[in-house]
Every structure is written in C-alpha cells, then in structure tokens.
Symmetry: C2
Subunit: 342 residues, 2 copies
C-alpha cells in the first residue's frame, strides 16, 4: 500500500515553525502519512504542479493560494481533502471549490478555543471592573473607591453577536460560572438551537440595549460591514463593555472612539482598522479601554495540524467528520481578507 501524500503549502517560515511542530510530525508518522512541507514563494508554476502531483491531502494556511476548482483540476487532480491550518477558509476557497469532490476542513474549531478563552478573560475583567481599581504592573496604585463597584456574573447579561465556533466554545467555558442571562443575535442559528446551547435568541438591537458585555463574534459579510456606528453605540447600556476580538470592520472605528471618549461605554479590543495599531492611536489615551495586539487566537497553534491530520485520517478511512465545511457554511464565513502578519 502506498503512503498517502500530503503537502503543507506555507507562505512564511514562521508558519512552518509554529504549525509543523513535534506533535504534528509524530501524528503524521503514526498515520503513515508522507508529509512534504514547502514554501510557496520558492515555487514557480511548474514546481507547484510537480509538488502537488498525486497528492491526496493539502494543508494550507494564511496566504496560501486560492484553491478554486480550476486550481484543483490543473494542479492536484487526485486531491481528496484540503485542511486549512488557520481560521476562515474564505481566502483559500471560492464557490467553485465546493463544486468539486474535495472535502474542506479548517482548524477554526481549534483557533476558536483560544479566541473563546480570550473572550472568557474579557468577560471576567468586565464583571470584576478590573481595570478601574487594580494596581497593574507597577504603573499605578489601587483605586479603592472603585473596588467594590463590580457585577456578579450570576446577575449579568452577556450578549454574543454571532453563533460560530467561538461563541459555541465560549458558551461551554461560561457554563460553570452560571451567568444570569446570555442573549445571542444570529442570522444562521435558530431560536431552538440557541436555546439548546443555554442561551436566548434576540435581535442585535436588544443585545445593544440589554447586555452588560457585548462580544462581537459574528462573521464579516456585506450586511455586517461597519454595522455598529454612532447610533448603535448610543443604544448600548450605560457603563457596559464592548468587546471585539473578531473583525474590526464590524464597527465604524471613529464612532467607537467617540463613544469611548464620552465614557458612555468601555471596551476591550484585540482588532483594529490599522494593524499594528499606530503609536498615536486615540485608543491609547482612553482610560476605559484595554487593548491586546490581535493575539486572542494565538494559543494552540501546535494543535492546528494535528487536528487536521485527524480529520484527514477519517476521510481516508471513509469515516464521518464533524468539521467538514459545506457550501452553505462557506457562504456565511468571513469574506474579509485576513491581515495577519508575523
């Protein structure tokens, strides 16, 4: 029996360093996969054809080529599965990909765990009003009058905008904290499905008005682009916290900065219109904002490829996989180009 041939087509050396880790190598060995790791930049058109010839599985990541039906037919006609070692597959597949027999999986469920952890942390920081009184790494003293002005999670309303992998995982992490109420705005999940997961389906407007903390976790599409502006932020509950570790372009950033300046709401942000955030960003002057440098989904990268290889093995042995991306799922996924750089 010939070994199954898998190509990992990376675009940067750091991707190989972070993703092609001992755990992944060991698993490939256990499954007797023949994995070849290549950098796209080193390959011309005919090299790619040679490299992909006869391959059964392709691992892609940030910056990998678009695997359209044409690409697959021309370069990798024997391909059975594409595994994307990153989040959204919107940059590496298009509608034509889904007309082929190639299965598509993504490490998004693994990355979502890291993003959900960050979101849990943001929730606890908000409930505890942590920024307002904590002495933080030698930069200030404790602010006692603010120290008992906090929320009890068991009485808190948590709003989740979007019901993708991150929201689903966040619901699991929040569950033992017994939040007072979790309300979800989603175009794609039914009332019943959301209720099954322990939350309540509501409109985005209701989320804005009633959430003590609002997590923007929805995918980007034409309808959501700059969806939150001046009017929406004004609707938000006074003193509540807006949290964004998803897509910056869900908001009008100048409006967000204005409402933060007014102190109507607070924010915890991991994503920005310009990244890295410029040194002179007005966010830096706000004492009601906590900023992290687009690293919410960072932990667990060494688990991306092992997750994909497990899925490959299931496909190769004709078992059912959970994380297969369907055409309809693809159409709801974030279309925004991911500006990720090492």
């Amino acid at each position: 029996m010939t070994k199954l041939k898998i190509i990992f087509l990376a675009t940067h050396q750091w991707q190989i360093n972070e993703l092609w880790e001992p755990k992944a190598k060991e698993l490939a060995k256990n499954y007797d996969f023949d994995v070849e790791v290549r950098l796209c930049g080193e390959l011309n058109d005919s090299d790619i054809k040679k490299v992909l010839k006869g391959c059964d599985g392709l691992i892609t990541t940030w910056g990998s080529p678009l695997c359209s039906a044409e690409f697959i037919n021309n370069y990798a006609p024997s391909l059975k599965i594409i595994g994307h070692a990153a989040g959204s597959v919107a940059s590496i597949t298009d509608e034509s990909t889904y007309s082929t027999d190639v299965k598509i999986v993504s490490a998004n469920p693994v990355m979502a765990q890291g993003v959900a952890e960050w979101s849990l942390l943001a929730t606890l920081l908000t409930a505890r009003n942590f920024g307002a009184y904590t002495a933080w790494h030698g930069m200030n003293k404790m602010n006692f009058p603010e120290a008992f002005n906090m929320l009890d999670i068991q009485n808190m309303t948590i709003g989740l905008w979007g019901m993708g992998d991150t929201s689903k995982h966040l619901l699991k992490l929040l569950s033992p904290l017994k939040p007072g109420r979790i309300i979800v705005a989603s175009e794609h999940s039914s009332k019943e499905k959301i209720a099954e997961l322990g939350a309540e389906k509501q409109s985005l407007e209701m989320l804005l008005k009633e959430s003590d903390i609002l997590h923007a976790l929805v995918g980007m599409n034409r309808c959501n682009f700059e969806r939150l502006g001046k009017e929406e932020f004004a609707m938000m509950k006074a003193g509540s916290t807006f949290v964004n570790c998803g897509r910056s372009r869900l908001t009008k950033e100048t409006d967000l900065i204005e409402v933060l300046k007014s102190k109507h709401i607070k924010a915890i942000l991991d994503v920005f219109h310009t990244e890295p955030l410029p040194e002179d960003s007005p966010y830096y002057d706000l004492d009601n904002v906590i900023l992290t440098p687009h690293n919410a989904g960072f932990p667990g990268r060494d688990r991306f490829i092992p997750f994909l290889l497990e899925e490959f093995q299931k496909i190769f042995s004709s078992k059912k996989i959970q994380s297969n991306i369907s055409k309809s799922r693809f159409l709801t996924m974030t279309k925004e180009a991911i500006n990720y750089s090492a």
Copy 2:
C-alpha cells in the same frame, strides 16, 4: 404553628445593606421565617438575652460574637442552627460549640464561588502573559515583542495548594479549558478524592517546582503560618506566577517581595500583611505584579443569606444538608482572625 424565629446579628450597617437584600427577604417570607435584624453594638448583655430568647436560628457575620457552648446555653438555649454569612467560622465558633446539638453552616461555598472566579481570572491573565504587553486603561502602549510569549492552558501545569471549597469550585471552572495538568497539595484530601475531581495529589515541594501558576488556597494553621519563605520561592519554576487571594500570612511577605524584585517569579495578589496596602508598599513599584484590594470574594453577597435560609429550611424540616460543618472540618478551617473592614 408558630413562625420559626431567626436573628441576624450584624456588627456594621454595611453588612445589613449588603447581606439583607430583597432576595433574602423574599425567601424568608416564602419560608414563613420571622427574621429580626439587629446590630450587636446597640445591644447590652441583657438585650442580647432578650433578643435571642426563643430563637431557632442565628445568622452571624464578620465580627459577630463567639458562639461557644456557654454562649448558646446562656443566651439562646432553643437555638438549632447557626448560619455564618461570611467564610470561615473560626471566629464565631470554638470546639465547645461542636459539643452542642446546634448545627453550624457557613456561606463559604457561596463566597468560594467568587474567590474561584477571581482565581480563574488570575489563571487566564497568567496563561496569556497579559500584564506584559496589554495596553491598560490609558497608562501605557502595547508591548509587541512580549505579545506572543504566552502559555497554552492545554499545556500548562496549574498548582492548587489546599483542597477546600474554593479549589473544588475552581476545578469546575477550569474543567472546560482542559488544562494540561492540575496538581494539588492537601493534608486533608486523599489521592483518590483528588483524582476524582480531575487533579493529581502532589507534595507542596513538587507544586513549587513544577507549577506554571501556583494558587495558595489552603487554610491557615500553625503549620502553614509563613510556610512560604525565601527557600520555597527560590524553588519555584522560573517565570511562574504565585497567586494569593487566601491568607497573606501563608508567606513571609519580605521574602516574597525580594523574589519578585529578582524577577524569578511573577505574582497576582489580593491579600497583604497590612490592609489596606500602605501607599509606600514596595509591591507598587514592581512591574511583574498585579494587585487587587482584598475583593476576590466580593461578588455574590446577596446570595449568602438566601443560601443559609435554604439550609435552615432543610434543618427545620429534618432534611439532610450538604454544608454542615463538622468538628473535624472546623479544626482544619482558617484560624487567622479575618481583618475585614468595609
């Protein structure tokens, strides 16, 4: 049938404001309890006798009188249950209390939820290395080089020193995060009991050496008093984080400050030898320390008395209660006087 008489003997008005809340009043009404709320300071010896005469239940809190067997026999001979609306009962009972038929319960399981939440937050801050790169409330800019230097919780070793209500609840909160390894040092819980809760029994020495984060959650007793000093801190894993929201006197504070100055470890602290922490405390100058003002257990106070009334109702209707404090449990509880002030 006469109403059951319950006295809430508070020592400060803020305790009444925070603890005798609508939820508690409503539950008392539902159970048809006759609850009288009194401030100790307003009562002389003969008043106390009058107030406690014929009472079935007594609610105590921080600063309430010691309910020894003598106190009970003299002042409240009909007493069936004492419910402590705070944590450790060490200040309101002594060994003689446990020779009477009076049952003792404490709101400690409720307070432990709040402390465990704070401990979960400390764990996430540590895993994410959050203090090292986050832009925090307008005080600094993001430190990019540190931003990808974080731990994956799924590979992390978490040490819990002590296996009381807080550790037990923390294990529940950590469970969906799938920590790599949780090791527990406890004098009172068996290897089997700890394994059942998803952790691994180890020596305190092993916890010091192997934990990426070490939570001091053990009760104070003669053996633990200033148990962690220079030698123990030196044993700790380089770069690991010491977390204390329990008892400050578990450590030699000057030794903790020295090891923090050396940058061998980091710390997140809620308790201090002197509280409130003096303005000139050396902790304030350390850039590897996060400080909170002894408020880890603050949330959920409005649930203390409802929890106790539920327990009272069980006792009065001869049902079994889960949280009854036995003499042996009492002997393991923190003996340190709790310096709590509003």
